[in-house]
Amino acid sequence: MKALMFGDSFVPELRDILTSISTATSFGPNGIEIETREQPFTYPWQLTWIGYDPDLGHSRVICKLAAERKTVAAVIDAGDFRKICANNTRSRAWNGSAHYHDMAVLASTLIEEQIVTWDPSQLGSEVRIKLPKDRIA
């Protein structure tokens, strides 16, 4: 059986999101704005590498993120996202992006959930990016 593959647009779109600049605002306890700043989507992490697995090709994408002298590899397998891995769909129910397809948006949200919002000391060197058990995209 042929392995599932990511569509060609997936890596460029995911790279685009992960290297994009977000606008962040902090508020004080009274709800008053303290500061607004520009920061990378992955802040405080930094994307150091993104591409296909050298051995598995388009069926696995690896993103390397670094923070505080630690590097974590986010491993994304097309087989875990069989309905959307082609990255050619846009679901209006949850994808609010005007530019990006479902697979790229979902992967960016899951990388944020599983790596970017964690303290580096709480993570191992590799995180398999997938949906909660028994749910297949």
């Binding site: 990006y100 948006v105 949200t109 959930e113 749910r135």
Partner: protein
Amino acid sequence: MRQALSVTAGWFAAAAGRPDAVPNCGKGVRPRKIVGKYKAKRHNKGGYRTDLLYCGGAKYGYRHLQPHVPQYFGGWGNFNFSIGAVLKKPADWVVQGNGNFRESAPIFQCFFAGYYIIWTFYVVPNIQSGSIVTAYGHKGRTVDKPCP
């Protein structure tokens, strides 16, 4: 060791953990069933909008975030309370290129024994629709003092 009944959300607004019923998003329930409505601060404007939690599916809504509920403290009641607290009064608000906001605030878990744990609770709503994509809490440091 006994956990205090109150949870301090954000900074000083104490609120009791409410016994909210766990949403019914079982098999066969439609994805667009609304299981939560939250008063959410508007971005760059005064006032509030209503952000909605749908049953959703694998990629958004209650079905997506449900595995995070037992990773937090206090079950659905506290989780639901924390979603509402963060959306109403976020401490950090990030406007992201993937079409989502990422809003967060500290939540204090207070213990009668005289210490507390600082969690950071995140809510990710869709910028345009206000539909909640996901939410989760991450455990932070323990402070060896009574709750502020």
